[in-house]
Assembly symmetry: C2
Homo-oligomer: 335 residues x 2
């Protein structure tokens, strides 16, 4: 229950000084074997746990990494988090995972909390914040890595791991066009999403290259989940029945689109072809299975974590940028 046993208690009980106990606890410095044994025995007997808080205050190092994601119930981020955790755990770090519910204010709050807690580093995914707030907040951390969020003005010592969304948007749209589609819509995800904006660029570029007109009406924002895709598709198809293909912000949105089509009696892929993004597990499980752009989610997480740890190592102040290239996975929804 109430763990009030302190290092001083152990020291007194073992008849040694605080420092000797500290050495034993941290396996640092030489301590004679008998003394060490005695201390360990006392620690065990008293049920002593060191206080991470006190240690952190003394060392100004917490052993904690903050990981911020917009929505942990999106498998994309869950998988990414897994990659981060594996690397962090292997290096003895704990991960403080925070989901912001797609709410920028909440993201700000969480960043603030992590800053107050002096975590050793922070890893922010798909930040929904505007650049000023983001850079300001990041300024409070020794080291930070941004995943899938570009900064217009390079910020000092912030690592970046990007997915080449422009490319992804392009190959997805190209695939649809190559399949003979001419009225390709884009469900763009939340307005705050930067990857959405980049995928949009790719989408537009592909249209242009194919000599197809870009119709603003065919681009609609939506929540980045199944419901969002469902609602957006329903309204889109009712006002624009000529749409013969939909490129979706992510797989969840695509699944929503799939459902809406099915309810509207639009056959996929005959009437409407659909392409998603991410290749979460779900993509291969729905019917028809989803053509999508695969992102190596766990790899992205790993890479980001490695970058952060390296930065925390402090050796170099260099802030590299890694880029992952998404890859088209063709399934039934857009053969």
């Amino acid at each position: 229950m109430n763990n009030r046993v302190t290092m001083a208690d152990v020291a007194r009980e073992a008849g040694v000084s605080l420092m000797t106990v500290s050495r034993v606890v941290n396996n640092k410095g030489e301590v004679s074997e008998p003394t060490r044994r005695r201390i360990l025995e006392v620690i065990e007997r008293l049920g002593y746990r060191p206080s991470g808080i006190a240690r952190s205050l003394a060392t100004s190092r917490t052993g904690i990494i903050g990981l911020i994601v917009p929505d942990i119930s999106n498998p994309f981020f869950a998988d990414l988090a897994k990659g981060v955790e594996k690397v962090a755990y292997a290096e003895g770090y704990n991960v403080f995972l925070c989901s912001t519910e797609e709410n920028p204010q909440r993201e700000l709050d969480v960043l603030e909390s992590l800053a107050e807690y002096r975590v050793d580093g922070v890893l922010t995914c798909s930040s929904r914040l505007d650049e000023k707030h983001l850079v300001d907040s990041l300024g409070f951390f020794y080291s930070a890595v941004l995943v899938n969020r570009d900064l217009e003005n390079e910020a000092p010592s912030v690592g970046v791991v990007m997915v080449d969304d422009v490319h992804g948007g392009k190959i997805a749209t190209n695939h649809l066009i190559d399949g003979g589609r001419r009225r390709v819509a884009f469900l763009a995800g939340p307005e705050t999403s930067h990857s959405g904006r980049r995928r949009f660029e790719g989408y537009k570029a592909a249209l242009a290259e194919a000599g197809l007109p870009y119709t603003p009406d065919l681009v609609v924002h939506c929540d980045s989940n199944v419901e969002g895709g469902y609602d957006a598709t329903k309204s889109l198809l009712s006002t624009h029945p000529e749409v013969d293909a939909i490129f979706c912000y992510n797989d969840l949105v695509a699944v929503g689109a799939l459902r809406a089509c099915s309810e509207l009696g639009a056959s996929v892929p005959n009437d409407v072809a659909i392409v998603g993004f991410d290749d979460i597990m779900l993509a291969g499980l729905v019917t028809p299975s989803l053509t999508t752009c695969r992102i190596q989610r766990e790899e992205v997480g790993r890479k980001a974590a490695e970058m952060l740890l390296e930065q925390m190592g402090g050796c170099s102040g260099k802030c590299e940028t890694a880029v992952f290239t998404p890859e088209l996975v063709v399934r039934r929804s857009a053969p």
Copy 2:
């Protein structure tokens, strides 16, 4: 970057004492309006952030709740976490979410870290630990709540939120039997899972009530994910082709079973009926859609968090137990 501004810096700069700054920062005690303004201005100008670490050391209160789940990429836990976060956030607490990769050792490590960090309370889901380790570890926390894990010997001041798995296992199996199935298998999930054991009890009870024999060979353990269900079903159906129904530990396992059946040419539900557990979103999206036992995941999370917060309030040492009853959702995989 390096946030070395301390309260003392602010105090000096503002020409007041530490205490006055502290009062302003915490909105505690009376401070004259001019002084307050001046201090706030200095705080802003210097970019001061209070140190949560130092504050915690002084107050022995962190404002952090630990949440431990076996696998965050299982939507069940992601949804549950969402419920917890909502409640915690509303009360000004931060959630330290830790995924243990279904590894009991890792769970122990995480519990240890949280204890060292002196989090205000801990919420453990589906603990895979044996009772001794679990109770020992929990002993280091002021307050703790267990989700879906029963304790044989009641432990002091540990709240419990349970899902009535026995009931769930029973109604699921009953449904299969009522549908005319006679050789009902059970994919039991990990051996370390306590909910798996309870669902098994329900399964056995239903068989007994229906006068059907219990065949140990038809119960097989598996990883609690799609792959686990897939592998288990493949081997099960190859050795026991007479199986005409499968009750699955959870929906992920059930989806794996679905895929295996499809590959083996067994039609679902004609040849094999399948029932899952949890009713994660995926259940309604696969083909055929999954009959399953619904658990109000977010509600469970909310309730658990509320219980924990109440316990932390400390008023009562009472450790209530809440029980959620799963509810059958009939879809195509077992009509």
